[in-house]
């Protein structure tokens, strides 16, 4: 690292990471601007969109602090269900989000779980990041939802798509009255 020459592999890595960041930031813009139809296009057809619940466990059980894959979760959706969630909001009479909420998605700490120089067609890579979802609606209703996300991205037809999303919310008792927003 001490000489100014940067290897082509390293350049490719910088490029890929920026591509992924751009992908997530674009996704956040689509969600916060409520362009849900284009958001759905970012999801692979066989996406697994999973938000398990959190458990209060001891340090010894620290790796067992989310409900298991087959247990009750907050979300465990396939693309069809996500489409229905979008459709519901778009009816304009989904009262839980009508009037529409003001939502911001902040995505930080984006990294590849295993660094790699590139992502070829059909390849998958898993990323980690942190999120803050801030929601404010009507007069003073405000929620702050914070946690981390593990996304598996796949390149399909040159484009990145989300093949799997695991959302680890840092709450056990959910302090929001509902989860009308996407993560």
């Amino acid at each position: 690292m001490s000489k100014p020459g940067v290897t082509p592999e390293r350049l490719a890595y910088l490029d890929l990471l920026r591509e992924i960041e751009d992908f997530f930031f674009n996704e956040a813009d689509l969600l916060d601007e409520r362009d849900y139809d284009r958001w759905l296009e970012l999801l692979a057809e066989d996406i697994v969109y999973w938000m398990p619940m959190r458990k209060n466990v001891s340090y010894a059980n620290r790796h067992d602090d989310v409900t298991a894959e087959n247990d009750i979760a907050w979300f465990h959706d396939d693309k069809d269900t996500l489409r229905k969630r979008v459709k519901q909001i778009q009816t304009g009479i989904h009262w839980a989000d009508e009037p529409i909420s003001r939502v911001s998605h902040l995505i930080t700490n984006v990294r590849l779980r295993e660094p790699r120089p590139s992502l070829a067609e059909g390849d998958q890579a898993t990323t980690k990041c942190r999120f803050i979802v801030y929601r404010n609606r009507l007069e003073d209703e405000t929620d702050l939802l914070v946690g981390r996300r593990e996304d598996t991205l796949v390149r399909t037809g040159g484009q990145l798509k989300i093949a799997r999303r695991k959302i680890i919310l840092d709450q056990s008792v959910l302090l929001a009255k509902n989860l009308t927003m996407f993560f």
Partner: protein
């Protein structure tokens, strides 16, 4: 918060004859405090299910009213419910959600309590207490009575309360609809791992009255009907069964429990359900067949939302869940939701239902989300000085209920809706606040339908 004028519950706040109920009871802090003493410290409350604590030493931390309790199975396999607070200086003794333990050791000074609640370990018992501490008297505070009804666990703090069976009164068979198997066998229910817990900014009675049988708010769910999340790909749920049935509003007035009930026709098989998943559809077709074989005429009864007084909701069909509405101050409710399957259902069925349940119910549930928005803002809009001067309106179906030849309780048959059930819920609520003794409470007149 000041209150608008004086009140006496039965005569003033809850006017069953006119079908009008004061907004005060939802927002007043003094009334809330009375509820804690008169209702939550006396009534039978739902705590959990034995499938959550299958083995000796297993525990699940639950809630009764505002307070944390430990549901656990002692070394001998007996089930207990304890207040989750050390007898020494009050520290919460169990701080994990669930698990298995030999003893509960208090973090503060190290007293430890057996899974039977007995104080078994007192550090420096000899030096500090000269061995004179009477351990028998300082075990965990245990509920006064506990009942295991087909696996569901209920408890009350009041030693004078009647037995759970007497408390249920004629409602027993509607609770059975929740707990018995889809194929008609007794008590097959199993809780899916993971109880949902979340906070809603409203008084606990909003969800309670909703589940007591508010079928009038269907219109609020039109968006999810349009989206079509049901297990056959349409609407909210499979409606075939309901479409061919008679719909009854049922309540047990001297007990305070209510439910909606569908009665299938004697002669007709309901249309198939779960058409989105052939394996599931076939399983339920089989179960329905079995149920009719085993139960005969009784198999015609199909459950729907219900409420066991004060704060336990039932939903025995789609999606099959129970809920608890735990008061967290007058303006906030912690909702808990348990999801049920039959314990020996195939894994595919369990998974299919799991997915359906959570897209329907709970905070990410596309149906329940809209309910909570209503409870939230009905509550908010009811707290003001002027709002509190005007009662809520509970007049739908006023005077329509009567006794039924077969179905216990007061029954209104109404294809659309009636507010009989909420009315009876608040009748019972008023009795709890007005009546100091169980003699009175068990003898309460069945007035004012």
């Amino acid at each position: 918060m000041a209150m608008n004028g004086r009140w006496g519950y039965r005569s003033g706040m809850v006017d069953l004859r006119r079908g009008e109920i004061s907004r005060e009871i939802f927002v007043n802090e003094d009334i809330y405090a009375e509820e804690q003493e008169r209702i939550f410290a006396r009534a039978w409350l739902h705590v959990g299910h034995e499938s959550q604590i299958p083995k000796p030493g297993d525990y699940f931390v639950s809630s009764m009213g505002e307070e944390s309790v430990i549901l656990c199975r002692d070394r001998t396999g007996r089930i207990h419910v304890f207040l989750n607070s050390c007898r020494h200086r009050g520290m919460k003794v169990c701080r994990y959600d669930e698990g298995s333990a030999a003893v509960f050791t208090c973090p503060y000074h190290g007293w430890s309590f057996g899974t039977d609640g007995r104080l078994v370990g007192v550090p420096y018992y000899r030096e500090a207490y000269h061995s004179r501490l009477d351990k028998e008297k300082w075990g965990l505070i245990e509920v006064a009575q506990l009942a295991n009804y087909k696996g569901s666990i209920w408890a009350t703090w009041d030693p004078a309360a009647p037995s759970f069976t007497e408390y249920l009164g004629g409602f027993t068979r509607y609770l059975d609809l929740q707990l018995d198997g889809w194929d008609g066998r007794e008590g097959q229910a199993e809780v899916l791992c993971g109880v949902q817990k979340w906070m809603v900014p409203c008084n606990w009675k909003f969800p309670a009255e909703n589940f007591s049988g508010d079928t009038y708010h269907n219109i609020s769910h039109r968006s999810v009907d349009l989206a079509g999340i049901g297990p056959s790909g349409r609407s909210r749920r499979d409606l075939g069964e309901r479409d061919v049935s008679r719909k009854l509003h049922v309540c047990i007035p001297d007990r305070g429990h209510q439910t909606i009930l569908y009665v299938l026709p004697a002669d007709k098989v309901p249309p198939p359900a779960y058409m989105n998943a052939p394996i599931v559809a076939e399983y339920f077709r089989h179960c329905e067949q079995e149920r009719r074989r085993l139960r005969g005429q009784e198999a015609r009864l199909v459950g729907a939302p219900g409420e066991i007084f004060p704060n336990t909701a039932l939903l025995s069909r789609q999606p099959r869940t129970m809920a608890g509405w735990h008061p967290r101050g007058p303006h906030r409710t912690e909702c808990w939701r348990w999801y049920f399957v039959d314990r020996d259902a195939p894994t595919e069925v369990k998974q299919f239902l799991r997915d359906y349940y959570i897209r329907y119910s709970g905070p990410a549930g596309m149906t329940e989300q809209d309910d909570m928005e209503n409870w939230n803002y009905a509550h908010v809009a009811s707290g003001g000085t002027v709002a509190r001067r005007r009662p809520y309106h509970y007049k739908a179906g006023l005077g329509a209920g009567g006794r039924h030849a077969v179905i216990p309780g007061v029954v209104t048959e109404q294809p659309i809706t009636s507010e009989q059930n909420p009315r009876f819920f608040y009748k019972r609520w008023a009795e709890y606040l007005d009546m100091g003794s169980w003699d009175e409470l068990l003898d309460a007149q069945r007035a004012a339908v």
